[in-house]
Symmetry: C2
Subunit: 243 residues, 2 copies
């Protein structure tokens, strides 16, 4: 059986302007890999309704799961929920569960639910909620699209709520070796090894540490027996290069 697939849509002018470094994608990537869900692509787009609608429509048909980050909130630039409603041709309506949370909270602190606060209770119709333990407002799930906050701490908590809703796959295991050899020296035997083991994904990553140039060779596969054989063979190849 094939592993479920996924894509991330980062909604955020602040990433595109360089103002903010996107840390959420790595957090989601690290979570998905442990669940055996294959992350196929990440798209970072502006807070623009047409762009969000188009991207959600395209990716939600191509992949098992979509994760959006950002654009959930009370201000006019928070347009994720409405855009996803449009993408799926669903009504954009007041979610009673979220409204109850708001009412509870603002009654407690003696403040009113202003229109901006009420906006946070709107989701696409029949969205499921993704509670979090950091902020008041939950994320939400619309069909196969999981909409998470942009603030990393809040995003992480919503992602934890999403995990039990996801089908898992066979976990890709990885094995790696670091050698003090430049990529160009190991490239030839490494290529031949890749040819021999075509169901092991082999990557090569150069690094420089304290002025020394080396290469990390990384093998990844869901076929653990083959992974082990390939890694054993790689070790033998690398021994030739150890002084």
């Amino acid at each position: 059986m094939k592993n479920p697939s996924a894509a991330i849509i980062v909604i955020g002018n602040e990433i595109l302007s360089g103002r903010t470094l996107d840390l959420n994608s790595q957090e989601i990537a690290t979570t998905l890999i442990k669940l055996g869900i294959n992350l196929i692509e990440i798209r970072t787009i502006a807070d623009n309704q047409n762009m969000i609608v188009k991207t959600v429509q395209e990716l939600s048909t191509n992949y098992s799961y979509i994760f959006t980050t950002g654009g959930i909130g009370p201000t006019h630039d928070d347009i994720t929920a409405e855009s996803i409603a449009i993408a799926f041709n669903l009504p954009y309506i007041l979610n009673q569960q979220i409204y109850d949370i708001l009412q509870n909270y603002y009654t407690q602190i003696g403040e009113k639910i202003t229109p901006a606060r009420k906006k946070m209770a709107y989701t696409p119709k029949s969205a499921k909620l993704l509670y979090n333990n950091v902020s008041l407002i939950p994320g939400f799930v619309t069909n196969n699209v999981f909409s998470l906050a942009g603030i990393p701490q809040v995003m992480k908590s919503m992602l934890t709520s999403a995990i039990p809703m996801l089908k898992t796959g066979k976990v890709i295991k990885s094995k790696s070796i670091k050698i003090i050899v430049r990529e160009s020296q190991i490239a030839e035997p490494f290529k031949n090894l890749q040819r021999k083991y075509n169901n092991v994904d082999m990557g090569s990553y150069p690094f420089t540490e304290n002025g020394i140039h080396g290469t990390t060779l990384l093998l990844r596969s869901t076929d653990y027996t083959t992974l082990n054989s390939a890694f054993e063979e790689l070790n033998k190849i690398c021994q030739k290069y150890i002084l």
Copy 2:
């Protein structure tokens, strides 16, 4: 006149697996914004030829400039140059200038140009080169696609070489104010301000510092006079919230 537009294609299994944090996109974003080039989207995709070809074809028609990062190198997983050649239906050939660099270097250190090393001299036909002062191998430009290395230090140096080749636009200036007020309290007047100044892009970013919740309000525009007026008005609005 409209500003040039741009997109980034991050080519990297290591980003999608969560192994590596992508720092290059922020570096490119920060550079482009100073040049008045509007970064519209970022796509992170796997080291997969079909995916690279498809993405390059789609984005290079939509935007003035494309920047790719990663997949330049001697190993079998470095397939950026060949994929871009395919995307533009160009021959993938030995670049004599790069080959001369290699020959010079390896003669000096008394080593041979192996097939893997020779591979680094291949680019799409008539590609221009992007020299860098960190590593031996230059990046290259194919039509409107600038192919940069994945290692941040090398990428940065190649990007510097690319700058003189880019048409610039009117720089988007930004002004921001930080207030110790939650987003939901300022959302209503901020929305009205956005409605009044539709050529100023207004974003709201909540933050928590030392347990205090606040909001950064950010205004961005290429129309500096209007930006100043809008910011002046924003300051007046915010004064109501300063205790």
